[in-house]
């Protein structure tokens, strides 16, 4: 009998005491899958008393959560959607945190068949040869960028070769691997999958092309729209992401000596933390 009571207390006790204050922060799968989130959050945990709860989802849904006031700030990578988000007064105080470049990856066997100085020409060749292409199709930052690229190439990708997965970056990469298809990916997820031997896709186009720039920004949810938003706490966290400590963590975050992200400001103090 005592055992039963102990069990019930153990089960019910923690649920009654939900923390009074917690910062809710929506971010994208590409950030979570790359692994950069853990060192950033643990560095922040050391400094502050407030708990930060990261909700991992696509950029589109992250902004939607912000729109409803269900999170206090977002870290996303789709400038166009972000612009709309701010224009409609859902978000304020956008800060650019870090960037990298998207890349086009494809099966090693077909890689030599494509060569160009420009990413739009690569896309044109893929469309012309009807090589399989996996699109995220989920309104994520990567998907928005992909649509923009097809537009720049003046193409309307349609047909059996163009497959829309509707899944996150990681799973889409695995589908591309299984189907021998080409795909637009963020560098972080691609490298993390490649180095863990989950995929064998090779970079078809990986130049630092300004068309492929991928900027991650943090935006606070407008407290005027939702009065329960923890504006000051969110401000502290977004300031932290731009601080020297966080920027150094971003700079020093590498997979097999390859940096995944570039911080927006220089990391000046070299003895601060990081691996």
């Amino acid at each position: 009998m005592q055992a039963v009571i102990l069990f019930l207390v153990l089960i019910f006790f923690p649920i009654s005491g939900v923390e009074a204050k917690r910062l809710k922060f929506a971010t994208t799968t590409s950030i979570a899958n790359s692994g950069i989130l853990s060192p950033l959050l643990s560095a922040y945990k050391k400094k502050q008393e407030i708990t930060v709860h990261a909700i991992i989802t696509g950029t589109g849904k992250a902004l939607e959560l912000g729109k409803h006031g269900d999170v206090d700030l977002v870290l996303t990578h789709a400038p166009k959607l972000e612009h709309l988000f701010i224009k409609n007064k859902y978000g304020i105080d956008k800060k650019e945190i870090m960037f990298n470049y998207f890349l086009v990856a494809g099966p090693p066997s077909k890689k030599p068949l494509l060569k160009s100085e420009k990413v739009v020409d690569i896309l044109k060749q893929i469309a012309k040869k009807k090589y399989s292409w996996i699109s995220r199709g989920d309104n994520s930052g990567t998907h928005v960028k992909e649509i923009e690229l097809w537009k720049n190439a003046k193409l309307n990708p349609l047909g059996k070769w163009y497959l829309s997965s509707g899944l996150g970056m990681g799973r889409s990469l695995i589908i591309a691997e299984e189907k021998n298809a080409f795909i637009l990916s963020d560098r972080g997820t691609y490298l993390s999958f490649l180095h863990r031997n989950k995929i064998n896709l090779r970079i078809v186009f990986g130049r630092k092309d300004k068309n492929l720039l991928n900027v991650y920004s943090v935006i606070q949810v407008n407290p005027i729209k939702h009065k329960n938003i923890l504006y000051n706490e969110a401000r502290k966290f977004s300031d932290f992401l731009l601080s020297n400590t966080a920027q150094c963590i971003i700079k020093k975050f590498k997979i097999k000596k390859v940096p995944l992200f570039y911080p927006v400001s220089l990391c000046t103090n070299n003895q601060s933390q990081g691996k």
Partner: protein, 228 residues
């Protein structure tokens, strides 16, 4: 295929090494599963019992409606509850979204129809004679109900266990209302989904073995209960 065996061995490794993250995830799963099963049973069993015992107008339609609810996709339940718990929703002020309590609310909605339908069908099979005998021995309405329940307590237990298995293996609600927050609302199923998006299939398999292990223990406990 290789990841299946790899997953099996890493499950054993994780269980015996008491990995903190895995333990807290398993704990959240048991916690929300257990609480929601109890709540769903408290709501569902009396309804199931009433439906099986009393006759009233529109009963058949009611049963039909509840049976239809069995087919409600968990993501839809998640969406509906999200609408209520979101800051913009009517219950937004409670700040329940992305907490274990939010998951429990969704799971209760999922499990209650299961408990109602299965307890209704079970009680219906034994009802008439046992109840009549109880009445003829001078039992009150409540006492007669208790007699019926005692008669089929193991079947009722099986219904509750089925509900528990369902809620602990559910993913849509846990993901949508819990938000898969590490160490807080991450359940075994949402962790499995996350690992598979990372391409860590073996780890996903390991976690699902742990999930099955929990459900196995719950069923074993019912065996012990029967012996008592």
């Amino acid at each position: 295929m290789g990841f299946l065996t790899e997953g099996f061995f890493s499950a054993i490794y994780l269980i015996f090494n008491l990995d903190y993250m895995v333990l807290s995830t398993a704990y959240t799963t048991i916690q929300v599963g257990f609480i929601s099963t109890i709540c769903a049973s408290l709501i569902g069993l009396p309804i199931g019992f009433s439906l099986a015992t009393f006759s009233f107008r529109g009963k058949k339609i009611l049963v039909l409606l509840i049976q239809t609810l069995l087919g409600l996709p968990t993501v839809v339940i998640g969406l509906i509850v999200y609408g209520f718990l979101s800051k913009k929703g009517p219950l937004g002020f409670m700040d329940l979204l992305f907490t274990p309590s939010a998951i429990v609310i969704g799971l209760v909605i999922l499990a209650t129809p299961i408990v109602i339908v299965f307890s209704y069908t079970t009680i219906k099979t034994v009802d008439s004679r046992v109840r009549e005998t109880a009445f003829s021995l001078g039992a009150s309405e409540l006492k007669a109900a208790w007699t019926v329940i005692c008669e089929i307590r193991y079947e009722i237990l099986a219904v509750i266990l089925a509900a528990f298995s369902r809620v602990s293996s559910e993913i849509g609600i846990a993901l949508m209302l819990g938000g898969n927050i590490k160490g807080f609302t991450r359940t075994l199923t949402t962790a499995i989904a996350l690992e598979s998006t990372k391409g860590e299939f073996a780890f996903g398999i390991a976690l699902s073995i742990i999930l099955l292990f929990i459900i196995l223990i719950a069923n074993l406990m019912s065996f012990v209960f029967r012996k008592l």
